[in-house]
Amino acid sequence: MSMGYGKDMRWLCGLLVLLVIAPPLLGNNYYLTVLTMCCLNAMIAVGLSLLVGHAGQISLGHAGFYGLAAYTTAVLSATLGVPVGLSMLAGVGVSAGVAALVGLPALKLKGHYLAMATLGFGVILSILFNETVELTGGPSGFTDIPRLALFGFEFTSDLAVYYFIILILGLVIWLSFNILHSRVGRALRALHTSEKAAQAMGIDIARYKLFIFVISAAFAGLAGVLYAHYLTFIAPASFGFLFSVQLIVMVVLGGMTSIPGSIVGAFFLTVLPEFLRAFESIEILLFGGILVLCMMFLPDGLAGGFDRLWRWVWRMLYVRRDKDQDTGEDTGEKTDQAGGGDHG
């Protein structure tokens, strides 16, 4: 299931190195914009993967948290003149706070009920973004948001903003891996499999569900504030139901329980429409098709599909012994004592 912590960290470092050296290779400013969007979407997808894949709680309203943070920081900084750093903090705070308020009653619901509650919440927010015209600018959008600036340093170039976003993305992924490789991560996976058994082990399931819901909303909020100050323009269309669904597709496509998978999913689904510009209209069909086919044939996503293929090949080769079960936790090297033994 989960790789060792060391392996995850190596993966993260590899990703960061790639992202750091990417801009000069891409050359063109347009590609940089796409890459930046990839990173922002990845940030949300990682949080959603914790919530959906690991804790087993669905949210169809995460675009709402993304938008809430974006509008909060936009209104605070552009309309009220609050310094950008502070307004960004407030944006993330509002998203997390609202998530806590909504999550408290909502996470008592299960399955379809939770899906509908989060969906309803997302739709309400999206209607608010559209209708509170004097605050948000309504459907035509909110313009002239100040550019990213922190501690007196203004990120004048897109490249500078990009590097800052990579930094935050790295932080988000690092925190997520930490959560997964800890007792918190175990508690989440436990309540995903059996709420009864988790309770019987003394795990306060309501608290952990709320915790991960708020964390994932905060990650979405982080992406939202960065998005607002990067583009300096936001419109409600970016934060609607369809984007919530796209986020879910990213997570599902990559493999719900895989952080790297959700990042790959986010990059793939962000880049794909750019390549499909010519056939703009079939983009939506493609999303639907990916969702359905993925859930039917690759319920654990691309990552899980490869994993299963690999295990199958391995079994074919070594029918009797399945040595490929690399499941040791963080300090994998030191647990060799618990290896071997007859199996099955």
Binding site: R183, K196, Q199, A200, M201, G202, D204, T331
Partner: protein
């Protein structure tokens, strides 16, 4: 020796650790339990038996808080746990297993038991989030204790396998190990021998006895397998249609004519 239901004191030297008074559970129109008094002492195995539908599992559910009893009081040691949530009861030392296995199938055997340590060995969530030195040290402690428990139940060799890949009998042991890792004072075992073959049941019986003696626990055993119950229990309580019809030592209960007619007569022996 037949005993009427209420007000009976069980003759025992130990002080009861778990005390349930006048427990009543109703599901709609069905009275699943009524006026049940139940006690379990440290270092003893107390079995609850009865025909199908007698309310045995309901009693375990009520004790562990998974079903809210409409009536009655529960006390664990010095704590009144009548209103406590399931996870709070578990933290106070009331830990259960499940008749239909509820192992964490998406984790390894070791992680299952480590999850069992969750409430006992703790660090704040932010410490885990930031992966502080303290949280890492705790993680090591959790791992070592989990391995110790796995060794105790004989699953050490299988620690790194996926729990779902284990054969059924081993999964039962895993559930027991996970419960032990939670540091129970009272261990509730809901039909631990269900689905096990003869030799596996044998191993389980020895294991339950050694759990009792090694950890000095109070064990509450709900079980269908009469041989197992009669062999390892110190006290037996018989439920029928949600009421206690007899209690005492295995020998006493076996001779009780009421029990024989209600239960043993149409079951084995």
């Amino acid at each position: 020796m037949a005993e009427p239901t209420t007000g009976m004191k069980i003759e025992t030297t130990a002080k009861p650790l778990l005390v349930c008074r006048d427990v009543g559970v109703r599901f709609g129109g069905l009275q699943a339990l009524s006026g049940v008094n139940f006690e379990a002492c440290q270092g003893e195995i107390t079995a609850v038996i009865g025909p199908n539908g007698a309310g045995k599992t309901t009693l375990i559910n009520a004790i562990s808080g998974m079903v809210q009893a409409q009536q009655g009081a529960f006390r664990l040691g010095a704590d009144d746990i009548t209103r406590a949530q399931p996870h709070e009861r578990s933290r106070l030392g009331l830990v259960r297993t499940f008749q239909n296995l509820e192992i964490f199938s998406n984790m390894t055997v070791l992680e299952n038991v480590m999850a069992g340590c969750h409430a006992r060995l703790r660090v704040p969530a932010w410490a885990s989030l930031l992966r502080t030195r303290k949280s890492l040290a705790m993680e090591k402690t959790i791992r070592n204790e989990a391995l110790e428990v796995l060794d105790f139940v004989g699953l050490f060799e299988l620690a790194k396998y996926q729990a779902r890949d284990l054969p059924f009998g081993k999964q039962r042991l895993l559930e027991l190990a996970r419960a032990l890792a939670a540091g129970p004072r009272v261990l509730l075992l809901d039909e631990p021998a269900a689905g096990l073959n003869m030799s596996e049941t044998q191993v389980l019986a020895d294991l339950i006895l050694s759990v009792r003696d090694h950890y000095r626990l109070s064990i509450v055993l709900v079980e269908h397998d009469m041989d197992l119950v009669m062999r390892i229990s110190d006290q037996v309580m018989v439920l029928c249609f949600g009421q206690v019809i007899s209690r005492g030592t295995p020998a006493q209960v076996q001779c009780d004519p009421g029990v024989i007619s209600a239960y043993l007569g149409d079951d084995e022996d």
